[in-house]
Structures are given as C-alpha cells and as structure tokens.
C-alpha cells in the first residue's frame, strides 16, 4: 500500500484534477494506495507518507526525507506520459524496499 500526498497552493483546482489522475493511474496499474491532499506550506512537516507530488511553485523539502516530485504535468497535460512513468517507477521502488 503506497501512501501518496498531493500538495498545491490552495487545495482546490490542481489538487482536485491531479488527485483524480493519480487515482486513475493507480487503478490502471492495479496499485493499492492512499492519496492525501495537503497545502504546499505543510510539505516540510509531513510524516508517515511515501511520496509527495507537488503541483505549484515551491522549493520546500520534507524534514523526514520523504521525496518531493513536481506533478504539474498531470495538470497541464504537457509531459504527462513521462511523469506517469516516473511516478510508477518511484512507486515500484517504494514497494520493493518494503
């Protein structure tokens, strides 16, 4: 079970669209996971998750060492395939390291 976070500025537009797309990616690839929304301002403090997908402007890193990747491609559609590949690679790596 992979634990993902989607973080954006306001938690409304990009979070909604990107969360939905990630749900579909997980479903299509038969991956079990949770997706929790957070604000960008909360990134540093997040714990208990495996990967943070950020959709917006930030240089925030997470104090517990959870990797942060930029998921704008899922919102804009530009580079969506490459991002999806990267996301799946990372998820598989997380599951392997368990």
């Amino acid at each position: 079970m992979v634990r993902l976070v989607v973080a954006c500025g306001g938690g409304i537009f990009t979070t909604t669209v990107v969360t939905d797309k990630i749900k579909e990616i997980l479903r299509e690839n038969k991956i079990q996971g949770t997706i929790t929304p957070h604000k960008i301002t909360e990134i540093a403090q997040i714990t208990g998750e495996d990967l943070i997908v950020v959709t917006g402007k930030t240089s925030a890193t997470n104090k517990a060492g959870i990797p942060v990747i930029v998921g704008m491609a899922l919102f804009t559609g530009m580079g969506e395939e490459e991002f999806t590949e990267e996301l799946l690679d990372r998820i598989r790596e997380i599951e392997r390291s368990r």
Partner: protein, 157 residues
C-alpha cells in the same frame, strides 16, 4: 451539484486594464454583484495569487486565479486582454508569463466538481478553444462557445 455557474456578464472581452490587480478587482466586483462572492473575495484571491501564482505557458498564455473562500456559488469567469499582463508562472520557473486570457474561478466544493475542472484543465491546452475565446467579439458569442464545449457542466445565469 458538480456544475460551475457563469453568465455572459462575467465574460470580459478585450479589456484594457493594465494591472492584474485592477483586472481581478473588476471581475470580482461583477461576481459580487451577481451574488457569487462576498466583498472579501478579491482580497483573498490577490493574496493567493501573490503567494501561489497561476500563470501558464499554454498555447495562448493564460492565468487561472482561483480560491474557495468567501464564495457563495462555484463559478468561472474570464477576461481577454488587449495587451498582455505579466503573471508569474504556476510552476515557479523564472520569467513572467505574458497572459492574454485570465480565467478566474471560485470553487466551493472541489470534489463535487472534479469532472468539470478536469475537462476545463484539458481545454487550457486546446489552442483552438483558447483562440476562439480570445477572438470572440461579444459576451454572447463567448457564452455560446462555452456552452457548446461544456454543455451540462455549466449553469448559465
């Protein structure tokens, strides 16, 4: 449920506002007149835009300011600009986006609106759609373009 409200009165075409603040206030005043938002909406929106910019280098450069607070009904509006106004890029990259269309949203129940928001995010990459909107000559024409594409996902007031 699940629809965005709009009206031809929230479609501003070829406006000459030169600052994003003036432009955003202009749109928000009209939204307030229509009862969609409270008087605090504009200020909230501008604060958010300052912290989390919404410029996008789409086929016609756009900005998509949006918030959910101080909003009574989920809605969208837009303004096409005679002269581009610079917005910072949503992804934080260097350089300004010379925006020609501003799509402004109030989104109260985002989970209920996944469908229309996803569809609209795809339209942002659609050069045809963006150019049609930019070139529309009057609000009724602009409204028709929106109705044709979004159909039952919008409630026209």
């Amino acid at each position: 449920m699940g629809k965005l409200n709009t009206t031809s009165e929230l479609m501003f075409l070829q406006v000459s506002e030169e600052s994003k603040e003036n432009l955003i206030c202009k749109i928000c005043s009209r939204a307030e007149e229509k009862g969609y938002v409270t008087s605090k909406f504009a200020e909230d929106l501008l604060s958010r835009e300052a912290e989390f910019p919404t410029g996008l280098n789409t086929p016609v450069p756009i900005a998509i300011p949006h918030i959910g607070t101080n909003c009574n009904k989920s809605f969208f509006s837009f303004a096409t600009l005679k002269k581009p106004i610079d917005f910072e890029n949503m992804d934080g990259s260097e350089g300004m986006v010379p925006v020609r269309i501003v799509f402004l949203f109030g989104i109260v129940e985002p989970e209920e609106q996944v469908g229309v928001l996803t569809k609209i995010s795809k339209l942002f990459q659609d050069k045809d759609f963006l150019e049609k909107i930019y070139e529309s000559l009057n609000p009724n024409e602009a409204l028709k373009i929106v109705k044709d594409i979004l159909g039952g996902m919008v409630d026209i007031d």
